[in-house]
């Protein structure tokens, strides 16, 4: 008897779940029927990072302005989750999809499927390989790395030992920024990189790694961090040496990074404009839906932010 009850309960709850899911799926589609606003799906690699939160906010604001219904999905840095989300987008009435790939290769098949359904796909921040993109909106990380090298070199008088805090090993952002930085440094033979270590784009990790590296190389005069979070960790590790005898340059231009520039602990950051990334991506999506011509790549400029121009970026 007891087990019968359990089975019944389990079946009932499973049924409820299915009904719930179907219900959820149906509502937006029904909305779409009667000349509803254009629907666009935005699949973000993660919302667990202020940068992508700003991409989302920029996209949201632009969508509101243009009267687009924007569905925002968080793939939680999982390519499989993203693949599912892209598959859902194909069937829920989206007229265009904006994808910020967790992994450029892994997103390929999902985007190809959308291509077959003639749904235009706009990639933002990271490209998608082996699929057709209506447009690719991204900042130029290599150029940004070179700008960062220039900033750091100027602040330390073009000579001395420096540290590099790398991002997650193997990611394109880390590769491109690192490559640009190394190229930029070639102009300054007086500067030596004494250690390069990863801190996984993470503030807490950077605090530990920078502390350790400063122990091994007490004479460094500069640190380049491949994102602001790590730069802030390095600043925490430096304590009151930050900004005075050790100059830190980072990358991204997040709120906390800009505040650190204002406070004088961070010399400069290479501001990507995540809000603009999101905004331009939505604009491209709308153009593509209306059948207007769309540029294959939309380079979003990166800007060197220092104490001189930080106020323009602080909100």
């Amino acid at each position: 008897m007891k087990s019968m009850l359990k089975v019944t309960l389990a079946t009932a709850s499973a049924a409820l779940l299915v009904i719930g899911l179907v219900g959820c799926n149906r509502t937006p589609a029904a909305d779409n029927g009667a000349a509803a606003p254009m629907k666009v799906t935005l699949s973000l690699s993660t919302l667990n990072n202020p940068f992508f939160v700003e991409v989302r906010d920029g996209a949201k604001a632009e969508a509101k302005k243009l009267g687009v219904q924007l569905d925002i999905l968080d793939a939680q840095n999982d390519s499989a989750t993203q693949a599912n989300q892209l598959a859902t987008a194909a069937s829920n009435g989206s007229k265009a999809v904006i994808v910020n790939a967790v992994d450029s290769d892994a997103a390929g098949p999902g985007v190809t499927a959308l291509n077959k359904d003639n749904i235009p796909v706009i990639a933002v921040d990271r490209t998608v390989n082996n699929a057709k993109l209506a447009s690719f909106v991204a900042s130029d990380n290599v150029a940004g790395g070179m700008q960062a090298a220039e900033l750091l070199a100027q602040s330390i008088g073009e000579k001395g030992s420096i540290l590099v805090l790398q991002g997650v090993a193997g990611t394109s952002a880390s590769r491109d920024r690192g490559q640009g930085f190394a190229e930029g440094l070639k102009k300054f033979p007086g500067i030596t990189v004494v250690a390069k270590q990863t801190a996984n784009f993470d503030r807490a990790t950077a605090l530990n790694v920078a502390t350790n590296l400063l122990q091994a190389h007490p004479d460094v005069v500069g640190i380049f961090a491949e994102n602001d979070e790590m730069g802030l960790g390095a600043i925490q590790a430096l304590g009151n040496r930050a900004g005075s005898d050790v100059k830190v340059v980072a990358f991204d231009g997040t709120d906390d990074g800009l505040k650190a520039i204002k406070a004088g602990t961070l010399v400069g950051t290479i501001a990507q404009q995540p809000g603009n990334l999101g905004k331009l991506a939505v604009q491209q999506a709308v153009k593509a839906i209306k059948g207007e011509p769309v540029d294959a790549t939309i380079p979003v400029p990166v800007v060197s932010v220092t104490s001189k121009n930080v106020d323009e970026f602080l909100k």
Partner: protein, 324 residues
């Protein structure tokens, strides 16, 4: 914590094998430190020792909580997320709910305790294996952290930031680490609840028959694990002056590794706080040393994996020695 002396003067015959098996982690830590001392002059300096202590504080305190769970034959996979949630709750209470700093700190600790108790209740009364219950909580707690923070860091109250500062030359995280070790060790060795954890972990049915309320112990075990996780999270937030939504991602694996390197058995019923502390130090010393030597990050992961495998190997040898 290094006061273990060989019992060669006792009537027992001294056995090298046994000594190695019982103190494998400690021997490993000493050997590792010697190697690093030879390899780089930066290793054995006062400041670097303090650095290691500070860096060990988060992992070790998380791992103390995990020791309770593992001794009681459970596992807590949610500690990293709970650490982040505890810190975030505290920062949120202070910044958005305008609570006074000390109250926000308490709220953070309470969050950890409650979330842990929920894990325990799901395990003890909901009959979910702890692996599943805490795996679910890993996701739930991280999600709530993101909801509270909306994905951006929140500034911590001054009292939390104090946890990341120094009192004179002594870093506060090290003080908290020592206190947490003493408290955890006291709970495990000197209280009825602590002794019951070993009994439950050794053989839950026998423990039940001998009059221990096994369910209640399980709830307490996970509540304590959650509380220690919150302490670790607040400490980490204090060091960063802000509660980070992505703080402590993946730390549960470090915590479990520390407990296992420290000689606890994943089968339950065996484990020591001193061992866990040594385990955490081993992990941190390896990372510190690899940084000092500028070893490529690709190899760092390989090395850490090998150390964990080696430690579990020791666990197997140890169990054989003990049963023979």
């Amino acid at each position: 914590m290094t006061t273990t002396t060989p019992t060669s003067h006792n009537t027992h015959r001294f056995s090298t094998k046994r000594f190695l098996a019982d103190n494998g982690a400690l021997v490993g830590l000493v050997v590792l430190s010697l190697l690093l001392f030879i390899a780089t002059p930066a290793f054995l300096t006062g400041q670097n020792i303090l650095n290691i202590g500070i860096q060990a504080s988060t992992i070790a305190i998380l791992a103390f909580g995990s020791t309770f769970a593992i001794v009681a034959a459970g596992i807590d996979l949610s500690v990293g997320s709970v650490a982040a949630l505890g810190a975030m709750a505290s920062a949120w209470m202070f910044t958005d709910a305008n609570l006074p700093g000390w109250l926000a700190l308490l709220a953070g600790l309470l969050t950890g305790l409650v979330v842990g108790a929920v894990n325990g209740a799901a395990n003890a009364y909901g009959k979910l294996p702890s692996f599943i219950a805490t795996l679910a909580m890993l996701s739930v707690a991280r999600g709530l952290t993101l909801v509270l923070s909306d994905g951006t860091p929140i500034k911590t109250p001054p009292i939390v930031s104090f946890l990341g500062s120094n009192i004179g030359p002594i870093p506060v995280p090290i003080i908290v680490l020592v206190l947490a070790a003493l408290v955890a060790s006291f709970i495990l060795n000197r209280t009825v609840i602590g002794r019951s954890m070993y009994a439950v972990g050794g053989n839950a049915e026998a423990a039940e028959l001998s009059g221990i309320n096994v369910r209640r112990i399980r709830v307490i075990v996970f509540a304590l694990s959650g509380l220690f996780a919150a302490v670790a999270g607040l400490l980490l937030a204090g060091r960063l002056d802000s509660a980070q939504p992505q703080a402590a991602v993946g730390y549960e694996l470090d915590a479990i590794a520390a407990v296992v390197i420290g000689g606890a058995s994943l089968m339950g019923g065996y484990g020591k706080i001193s061992g866990t502390l040594i385990g955490a130090l081993v992990l941190v010393v390896i990372r510190n040393g690899l940084n000092l030597l500028n070893v490529s990050s690709f190899w760092q992961q390989v090395v850490i994996g090998l150390v964990i495998a080696l430690a579990v190997g020791f666990d197997v040898i140890r169990r054989k020695t003990r049963s023979s």
